[in-house]
C-alpha cells in the first residue's frame, strides 16, 4: 500500500523553522527578488551564507563535519527557502543527493574528502545522468569508462546537466563493463572533476533564455580510482535507491509559491470576491496536503525507509499541481502579462514559460506513472 502517515513538526523543528523564516524575511527585506524554486539563478554566495548558518549538509553526520540532523530538519529548511523564493540551486544537488549517495555508497576516503566541503558549500556537484538518446531511459547510457592504470578513461556525452557551468564535480553514470543481457548491469558512477583535461561544458539555454543546463563532453578524461563511487557495477543500484531523496521534496510542489505569496500580499488587505476566495482556498488546500505528504516521506527517510513509490507519487501529482496553479494564477490575473512589469508579473511570466519543464525534470511524469502503476499492480497481486 502507498501510505502517507501524517505527522507534525516537533517543537525543535518549529524553532528551526522560525529561525529560517526570520532569516529569509531579513534576506528579502534587503531587496533580493523572489525566485522560482530550483529554477532560481544559482548563487554560490547565498549557499555559503546559509552554510554558515548550518543549513547545508544538515543530515551529514558530525564525524564528517556535518550537523547530524534529520531529513525532516532538512525538509523544514528547504521548504522555508523555496516558499521564500531563495536562490538555492548552487548547493542543491550536493545537498539533496550527492551527500546521501556518498554516505551510503562512498568509500571512507571519499566521505572525508567531500562531505565536509559540501557542508561549507566549498564544493558543488552536478549530475551526469541523461544522454542525447537516453532521456528518461537512464539505463541506456552510452558514456563508457575503460580500465587504465590507476583509474578509468572516460568518453561520452551527457545532457541536461544542470549547474555544470559552476559545479566542481559531475556524478557521472557510465558503462564500465560491456553491455550484456541486462542493460542495468555493468554501470558505475564516477565523480568527474569538471576541471580535468578532456572535459568540455557547453551551455543549453532554456526557452526563457536561462542557463541551467549544459552538455558535458568527456574526451579521454582520466578519472582516478579513488573517484569511482563505491564498487564498479553498482551504478544502477546507487541511482535508483536515491530516487526517494530526489523526488519527494518540496521543490516538487512549491516552485510557484513565491507568486502566490506576492498575490496574497496584494490581496490580504482587500475584500476577497467569491471567485478569488474559492481559487485561493483550493490552492491553499493543495499546498497543505502536499506539504503533509512530503513531510511524511521525510519522516520515513529518518526511520531508515526509502519510500520511492510515494516519492514518485508526490512528484507526479505535485508537478501537475504546479501547472494547474500557474493556470489558476493566470485566471485570477485575467489580463496580459507584462514580463517587464513588477515583481509579481515578472515572476508569473517566468512561471508561465517554464511551467512545462516542471513535469519533465527528474524523470517525465509518464515514466513516474509507470513506476507507480507497477507497484500498484504488484501489491494487488500480493494481496490477491
Amino acid at each position: 500500500m502507498i501510505t502517507f502517515p501524517s505527522s507534525e513538526l516537533t517543537d525543535d523543528e518549529l524553532a528551526l523553522r522560525d529561525q529560517v523564516r526570520a532569516f529569509m524575511a531579513d534576506y528579502r527585506a534587503q531587496g533580493h527578488r523572489l525566485q522560482l524554486g530550483i529554477n532560481a539563478e544559482p548563487d554560490p554566495e547565498f549557499s555559503k551564507l546559509i552554510s554558515r548558518r548550518g543549513w547545508v549538509g544538515m543530515s551529514i553526520p558530525v564525524e564528517y563535519s556535518g550537523h547530524g540532523r534529520t531529513a525532516v530538519d532538512r525538509f523544514v529548511v528547504v521548504e522555508e527557502m523555496l516558499a521564500a523564493g531563495a536562490p538555492i540551486s548552487a548547493h542543491w544537488v550536493g545537498d539533496r543527493q550527492t551527500a546521501q549517495m556518498l554516505l551510503r555508497f562512498g568509500t571512507e576516503a571519499q566521505k572525508r574528502r567531500f562531505l565536509p566541503r559540501i557542508v561549507t558549500s566549498d564544493v558543488f556537484f552536478c549530475l551526469g545522468m541523461s544522454e542525447p538518446e537516453s532521456g528518461s531511459d537512464l539505463a541506456s547510457v552510452r558514456t563508457r569508462a575503460t580500465r587504465t592504470d590507476g583509474g578509468w578513461i572516460l568518453n561520452g556525452q551527457k545532457v541536461w546537466t544542470s549547474g555544470a557551468q559552476y559545479a566542481d564535480y559531475a556524478v557521472t553514470l557510465c558503462r564500465t563493463e560491456p553491455l550484456g543481457q541486462s542493460k542495468h548491469v555493468g554501470l558505475s558512477q564516477l565523480l568527474v572533476d569538471l576541471k580535468a583535461d578532456g572535459v568540455t561544458v557547453s551551455p543549453i539555454r532554456l526557452l526563457n533564455g536561462a542557463h541551467h543546463f549544459n552538455e558535458v563532453f568527456f574526451d579521454d578524461v582520466f578519472v582516478p580510482d579513488e573517484l569511482l563511487l563505491g564498487k564498479p557495477g553498482d551504478g544502477w543500484h546507487q541511482v535508483t535507491s536515491e530516487l526517494a531523496h530526489e523526488r519527494s521534496g518540496p521543490d516538487r510542489f512549491l516552485s510557484v509559491m513565491p507568486i502566490v505569496q506576492l498575490l496574497y500580499e496584494r490581496q490580504r488587505a482587500r475584500d476577497l470576491d467569491l471567485e478569488m476566495s474559492e481559487m485561493l482556498g483550493r490552492l491553499f488546500a493543495m499546498y497543505m496536503t502536499f506539504r503533509s505528504m512530503s513531510l511524511s516521506i521525510a519522516r520515513r527517510l529518518d526511520a531508515g525507509e526509502l519510500p520511492a513509490v510515494e516519492a514518485a507519487l508526490v512528484k507526479d501529482m505535485g508537478t501537475e499541481f504546479e501547472n494547474q496553479a500557474v493556470a489558476v494564477l493566470r485566471r485570477l490575473v485575467n489580463a496580459e502579462i507584462d514580463p517587464r512589469g513588477g515583481e509579481f508579473e515578472a515572476l508569473l511570466a517566468d512561471a508561465v514559460i517554464t511551467a512545462p519543464t516542471f513535469t519533465l525534470r527528474g524523470g517525465t511524469n509518464e515514466v513516474l506513472r509507470g513506476v507507480i502503476a507497477k507497484d500498484l499492480i504488484r501489491n494487488r497481486r500480493r494481496v490477491a
Binding site: 502517507f4 522555508e80 488546500a285 505528504m293
Partner: protein, 357 residues
C-alpha cells in the same frame, strides 16, 4: 490507507464484511436491523464524547468502505454534540443533528409561562426519518442553544441523496423541545466535524473503488492482454491512487491537527476530498467500462455515495471559500506563514475548535 484507529476500523470492517457475505450484498443496504442490533451490542452505536475524533473517523471510514446504509456516522456526530452540550440521549435511541445546513433556521420562543416552543425548517437532515431524537441549534433572541426534539413531533418530507440514503426536509411548527442546553459545541464546529466524517467515509469508499479497479484491470483482458497492461489504464490507476493518497493524508492531518489548525485542516480535507473524489469516481467507472455502471456491480454503491458526500456538510467550493476567509486577513504575515503557522499566528483568530476533538 490510514485508519486513524486501525483496531476499531478492523473490528467494524469484519462485522460489515460478514453481513455482506451473508446477504450476498456488495454493500450493506438496505436497512439491516440485525446488523444495527449487533453494532449496538458492540457499542458502535453509542460512540460519543468518550471516543476521539480518530475513533469516529475510523468508524466512518469503515462505513464508507462497505457502503453501510445505517446512520452510524450521523448518530455518532449527534451523540458527540449532545454529550458535550449536556443533552441526554438514551443508549437505545437513534439521534441525529438537524439544522446544520446553510439557510436552515429554527427559532425558539418562550411563552408567558416560561415554556419554550420551536418553529422553523431544516433541510436534508441525514437519516431524520429513521431517528428517535433530533438535536438542533435553535435561535432564541440573539443566542443559539441546542434543543432536543422528539422525531415524532416533527413533520417530514422524505428525500434521499444520490446514493438513496435518507436526507429529509423537516418542518417544525411550535414543537416543545424535551430539553435545551447552551451552544457548546458551536454549530460551526459540529458542521466541520460532520464534513470531516464525510471525508473519512469517503476515504473508505475511494479505497474500495481503487482496489476494485485494480482487480478488474488485472482480470479483464481486451485486445488480447489484461487492461492493466495498457498505459492509459495504468495512468488512470495512478491518478486514482493519487486521489486516495491525498484525501487520506488530508483527513489524517485534520484528525491529528493541533487545536488552532483544526478548522483550516478540516476545510482543506473537505476541499481535497471534493476535488479528488470527483477525479477518482470518473476514472473508476472509465476503467470498469460498462459493467461498472450496472446496478449489479458494487462500484456504484461507493461512487454514488462519493458524489453526494462531496457536497454534504458543505461543498468543496464552500469550504474553499471558508478556508480563504480563515487564512487571508489584513494583519496576516503572509501566505506561507498562515499555511504553516507558528502558534502565534492563528491563536488570535477565531479559527480553533473550542471543544475536545
Amino acid at each position: 490507507m490510514i485508519n486513524f484507529n486501525d483496531d476499531l476500523f478492523e473490528v467494524a470492517s469484519k462485522m460489515f464484511e460478514r453481513k455482506q457475505a451473508a446477504a450476498r450484498y456488495h454493500a450493506v443496504e438496505p436497512w439491516a436491523q440485525d446488523l444495527w442490533d449487533q453494532l449496538r451490542t458492540s457499542g458502535f452505536t453509542t460512540l460519543g464524547r468518550d471516543a476521539t475524533v480518530a475513533d469516529h473517523c475510523a468508524l466512518a471510514k469503515a462505513v464508507g468502505a462497505y457502503a453501510v446504509a445505517l446512520p452510524l456516522v450521523d448518530t455518532g456526530l449527534a451523540r458527540w454534540a449532545a454529550e458535550h452540550a449536556g443533552l441526554s440521549v438514551a443508549d437505545e435511541e437513534i439521534v441525529v443533528c438537524a439544522g446544520l445546513a446553510l439557510g436552515d433556521d429554527l427559532v425558539g420562543s418562550v411563552d408567558a409561562s416560561g415554556g419554550m416552543s420551536i418553529t422553523g425548517h431544516a433541510r436534508r437532515v441525514p437519516w431524520a426519518s429513521r431517528a428517535d431524537v433530533l438535536i438542533a441549534p435553535v435561535r432564541i433572541g440573539d443566542r443559539v442553544r441546542w434543543a432536543r426534539l422528539r422525531r415524532a413531533d416533527v413533520d417530514f418530507n422524505e428525500s434521499v441523496n444520490l446514493a438513496s440514503e435518507p436526507r429529509d426536509d423537516l418542518t417544525i411548527t411550535a414543537v416543545v423541545p424535551t430539553e435545551v442546553a447552551d451552544e457548546a459545541p458551536r454549530v460551526k464546529d459540529v458542521r466541520a466535524r460532520g464534513a470531516l466524517l464525510r471525508a473519512a467515509s469517503g476515504v473508505g469508499a475511494m479505497e474500495f473503488a481503487l482496489n476494485a479497479s485494480l482487480t478488474y484491470a488485472e482480470q479483464r483482458t481486451q485486445f488480447g492482454r489484461p487492461l492493466s497492461g495498457f498505459q492509459a489504464v495504468q495512468h488512470h490507476l495512478v491518478m486514482m491512487a493519487e486521489a486516495v493518497a491525498s484525501v487520506s493524508s488530508a483527513v489524517d492531518a485534520a484528525v491529528f491537527s493541533p487545536p488552532e489548525q483544526r478548522l483550516m485542516r478540516v476545510a482543506a480535507a473537505k476541499v481535497i476530498f471534493g476535488e479528488q473524489s470527483a477525479v477518482l469516481t470518473r476514472l473508476a467507472h472509465q476503467v470498469h467500462g460498462a459493467i461498472g455502471a450496472t446496478e449489479e456491480h458494487p462500484l456504484h454503491t461507493r461512487t454514488r455515495r462519493l458524489w453526494s458526500w462531496q457536497d454534504e456538510f458543505g461543498t468543496a467550493t464552500q469550504w474553499a471559500v471558508e478556508l480563504a476567509t480563515q487564512l487571508v486577513f489584513a494583519t496576516s504575515p503572509g501566505a506561507w506563514p498562515v499555511l504553516t503557522p507558528p502558534l502565534t499566528v492563528l491563536a488570535s483568530r477565531d479559527v480553533g475548535e473550542t471543544v475536545p476533538w
